[in-house]
Amino acid sequence: MTLELKNVTKRVGVEMHIHETSLALSPTGFNILLGATNAGKTTLIKMMAGLERPTSGEIWFKGQNVTGVSPQKRNISLVHQFFVNYPSMTVYDNIASPLKVAKIERAEIERRVGEAVELLRLTPYLKRRPSELSGGQQQRTALARAIVKDSGLVLLDEPLANLDYKLREELRDQLPGLFAGRGAIVVYATSEPSEALMLGGHTATVMAGRVTGFGETGTLYRQPRDVATAQVFSDPPINMARVLKSGNEVSIGETRFAARGAILNRPDGAYTLGIRPHFVTSAPRSPDAASISGIVQITELSGSESIAHFEMGGDVWVAQSPGVHAYDVGERHDFFVDTSGCLYFDSDGKLVL
């Protein structure tokens, strides 16, 4: 059982919202659409739901072409970033509404709603209206509505984006469990790389209307197949620099270090280096770390990490060091690059493997 997008495009007026895209999503684990706001995640989700028709291409679900089929005939669920519940109905009626429309018998409705309500800890609020609930409870109600339907395709469009930090963590931990073992294909759109990593499953990186990479989330993170994928799938943003490879060495400006991995098998010349900020630290992570230096521009402290933005060779780099470090803004500081984290991209922007 899969959901397949076959050469799907979406054009609105003269604007291409989605360039030709093919994807095959499976019911094992979450399928994450990762990308910035306006990258095209919501358009992809709307096409999967049948709320929007692709300009060209086909959508196949469970081996059937469902391209022109209306959303209510597809048996799907959709949870929005905004908390969408029927305002005049109680929590119970809201959750039961899709089942009532589907003319399912009362006892069965009660059983399914009861089960969903227990999972989402909404039991005390059944008689309330959405306006009397907190944001987290409203979104849990919307999730419960998505669960009771037992639909084959569950679309979650940034469902946690409007919740505060604490609730987001809590609900995120709970999400995979809610849908596990239901046999549904779950699509989850998010703009946060960390969320994709925490949820696991498969990830598709979306940038400017294109799916740049798709694969098992961890693999895609470690081996982003091109520059765009690496950029989408990194937070803080991945550091990029032009490097020269000659023999066994790579040089960024004046700094030289030993080349490692697949780059060794490639001809000498110019490559793009991509290195995630946590491989650039103020103390060496490994004995063979390459030393670079730059003028610190911005510093940020989180409880356990220090982040410094520094300028080197015309590029702005981000270093993410464990522990608390003091940097003087405007001063030159030394940083160390853990070369095991170096990703190299060729002139076409493809990862050197």
């Binding site: 709307k46 739901a49 709320l51 209306s70 959303p71 209510q72 005939k73 799907i76 669920s77 959709l78 929005h80 905004f82 969408v84 029927y86 305002p87 005049s88 109905m89 509404s97 899709p98 429309v101 589907a102 306006s131």
Partner: protein, 288 residues
């Protein structure tokens, strides 16, 4: 640092408002209250009459009849304008080049001065030369708003519906426009029908603006004066003499200051009471 935390100077800042409210609300209202409990025989000679005028007004069949007409009129125009306004708002386009056109067309009747509306309908509905009056008669329907109470009522109601439904439309349209697309998508995915979308999404989401629309239309129609005054002058007979027309007849036509003042106060209190009732009922329903 020790600073004076209390001084009386703040009163000076409140003073302009106090004066303004005193002159435009308190003084006129108290003058009316003053008239309502006294009797005047000639200029400057006043006698205390207590609640006599209030009793007289409440017991007078003329007042009761005017109040009855007023309630009937307000009830009818609310029953027509609110559903009609919602229905028109629902059929208006949500996006596209026609939106401003529709909005301007809708706003037009609201921009016409009230006495002009009255004069327009007065001529429009004349049975011998008016386009509407002539056409209706030509269709074989006996219609003459200057002679028949029923015709007069229908004309006054038609005029009010024409003039004020736009207000309800604009408010309802604003309410509809504020509903995020996500709600309609959710309904689509659930397979909810058009009626269910209206009943469970659009109507509850319009609740607030509709409360305002009903209140405004209630108050305005309950105090209606200019348009029927110009159109029918309260006739034929007394058939379209609503409260405010009756009040003006009494106060200015007959110069019965005491009873007119008492009637004004009763009128004011009824308007206030019904508005408050509407508001509490509708907002409670929203929460409950």
């Amino acid at each position: 640092m020790a600073t004076k935390t209390h001084n009386e100077r703040a009163w000076w800042f409140v003073l302009p408002v106090v004066l303004l409210v005193a002159f435009n609300a308190v003084v006129p209202l108290m003058t009316v209250v003053n008239y309502s409990v006294q009797e005047s025989f000639s200029q400057g000679v006043w006698f205390w009459s207590g609640v006599e005028w209030f009793e007289e007004t409440l017991n007078s069949s003329r007042f009761q009849a005017a109040l009855g007409r007023q309630l009937l009129f307000t009830g009818i125009i609310l029953a027509i304008e609110i559903p009609l306004g919602i229905a028109i708002a629902l059929t208006m386009p949500k996006t596209g080049p026609w939106v401003p056109v529709c909005l301007v067309l809708m706003a037009l009747p609201l921009l016409i001065p009230w006495n002009v509306v009255g004069a327009m309908w007065n001529i429009f509905a004349l049975p011998d030369i008016g386009l509407l009056g002539y056409t209706v008669n030509a269709l074989g329907i006996d219609y003459d708003y200057t002679q028949q109470p029923l015709s007069a009522w229908i004309t006054v109601i038609a005029m009010d519906v024409w003039h004020w439904t736009s207000l309800v439309v604009l408010l309802a349209y604003a309410g509809l426009a504020s509903i995020p697309d996500a709600y309609y998508q959710a309904a689509k995915i659930d397979g909810a029908g058009r009626w269910a979308v209206f009943r469970h999404i659009e109507l509850p989401k319009m609740n607030r603006v509709l409360t305002i629309a009903i209140l405004l239309r209630f108050m305005d129609s309950f105090m209606i004066y200019t348009e029927p005054f110009v159109l029918t002058g309260g006739g034929p007979g007394n058939s379209t003499t609503f409260l405010s027309i009756d009040l003006v007849k009494k106060a200015l036509g007959e110069f019965d200051l005491g009873p007119a003042a008492a009637m004004s106060l009763i009128y004011f209190l009824i308007t206030l009471l019904v508005s408050w009732l509407f508001y509490t009922l509708m907002t409670r329903q929203e929460e409950g």
